[in-house]
Amino acid sequence: MRLPVTVLVLTLTLPLLGAIVSVAAPRRAEVLVRTATLIMVGLAVALTAHVALSGPVVIAIGQWMPPLGIELMADGPAVLFLLVNALVMAAVMLFSLKPHGQIGSDNRLVYTFRPLLLLLWGALNAIFVSRDLFNLYVGLELASLAAVALVGIERKRDSLNAALRYLLFALTGSLFYLLGVVLIYAAHGTLDIGLLTGQLGTYPTDALAIGAMTVGLAAKAALFPFHVWLPPAHAGAPAPASAVLSALVPKTSFYITLRLWFEAAPGAAGEIAVNVIGSLGALAVIYGSVMALRQPRLKLLIAYSTVAQIGYLFIIFPLALGAAAEASESVADAAWNGTLFQALSHALAKAAMFLCAGLILEAAGHDRIDRLAGLVQVLPMTLFAFGLAAITLMGLPPSGGFMAKYLLVSASLEGGVPVWGLVVLSGGLLTTAYLYRPMAAAFRRSDPASAAVFQPVERWRQALPLGLAIASLALGILPGAPYGLMGGMP
């Protein structure tokens, strides 16, 4: 077997194996999980380098070619997501190794947290490289089940409530997706994305199928107005779990939507449909930001910020598939690359931010924004990481978020639809407004009479969110390599 193929197979199987072994041998799990995590990061880096140098890696499992077999393909966008996934998961895994504190205080929590995280890791990797719509369904369900379990892991009433609501949304979304899969198979006899290219839209049921799948995926991606499950779920989960849930899980649904609309059904998009999706994205940007401004607790603020940041992603539909794209080819390319920059840099920055929130929660014992005065003296490194992540979310240079906003705004101006660019820019201003509040509170000098007591936190754990925040800046400082891998409109 060729080496890149082995690496791709390992990125899919190693997390699942790790999950099983860490359930079977919980005492040795710590060493094992640490080793597996480091190997996984190495594999992701190696695969990214290989794809950047010599093109996509394709496997037809068991030498069965589509339509009967299932094809896996690691192309440019797929390896970028695999790499970011590996970085975020590794940081979260190391973050939760601490024997006591937020996650570790209860042994049962540790024993369930690691296998669930590894399971989620494997499921997300499987989604990123799948080329078969039914295989994507299985990946989606695996990811949802692990994610829901992570939300309810602490067995508190509020988090169980949030987990149940999340589960109902996620399951209904998956069923809508499955309904679309059934209709497509009945009409075309294949579910391979490559074989479906150019075929969709020829049968009357195709519009219904794509509509059902898009609605289902939008519900799972927390697109406005299906976002209601997200803030309680992401704010109620333990901070390391929230980091993964907010950074990566909604993006997998968005990623499948991209594969569906841009690769399986290019040209089947109606002008009205893409504008409706784009408007929902714009509403999400405004609504999520305004709600984030009004939250009294840091974790809720960050969760509402996710609602807003996911909104930007859906602006790709009117920009790259609507009338704007017909103006010139570079518009669609800029929209595509800008959206991927947004997805990747938001993943890194949001994971960093939730880990910072976790550290603040450990130091202060609460996350109420108005009682964080004086925090900067105790956790300077954490607040530095928070600030760097905030730069990416606001879209200031030099950061991945800046690349994203620059490309999206230039696409909207070049395509003659400046309204979408205006949404992106005003979203940036609102982001600045809501992220200013926790920063200002933490930098405020505390009143000596009623000074809050903060516990110190180890430096190596503070370094983990800092690393993620620096990675999100690096996307903007060295955008050449990721830009090349994204490759413009497929």
């Binding site: 369900e141 949802s144 089940l145 149940l164 589960l167 069923l175 198979y185 006899g189």
Partner: protein, 96 residues
């Protein structure tokens, strides 16, 4: 199969999906919502079986494999939902 043979299945499947969706939206009780979710799932699997019957080549085995996979996925989702519902009730939570 001719349309006369597969059409009754398709109609039943559509009815199941519709009933399940109605239940999912209107029923406030968790357990009923979980049952409604299973009804939608069953309806989709039945639809899959009915629509994949071809008039010339007999029955296509691929959808059957997918239906079995889908049933396993739906079963595990139901198990998780029930587990969460039980834990939720133990903590004294009310139906969301």
């Amino acid at each position: 199969m001719t349309p006369v043979e597969w059409l009754p299945f398709a109609i039943c499947a559509t009815a199941l999906i519709g009933l399940g969706l109605y239940g999912l939206i209107t029923q406030p009780l968790l357990l009923r919502r979980i049952i409604a979710f299973n009804m939608i799932g069953s309806g989709i699997f039945l639809l899959f079986g009915a629509l994949s019957a071809s008039e010339t080549a007999g029955t296509d085995p691929v959808p059957q494999a997918m239906i079995i996979t889908g049933i396993v996925v739906a079963l595990s989702a139901t198990a998780l939902a029930l587990g969460l519902a039980v834990a939720h009730a133990r903590e004294g939570g009310r139906d969301p």
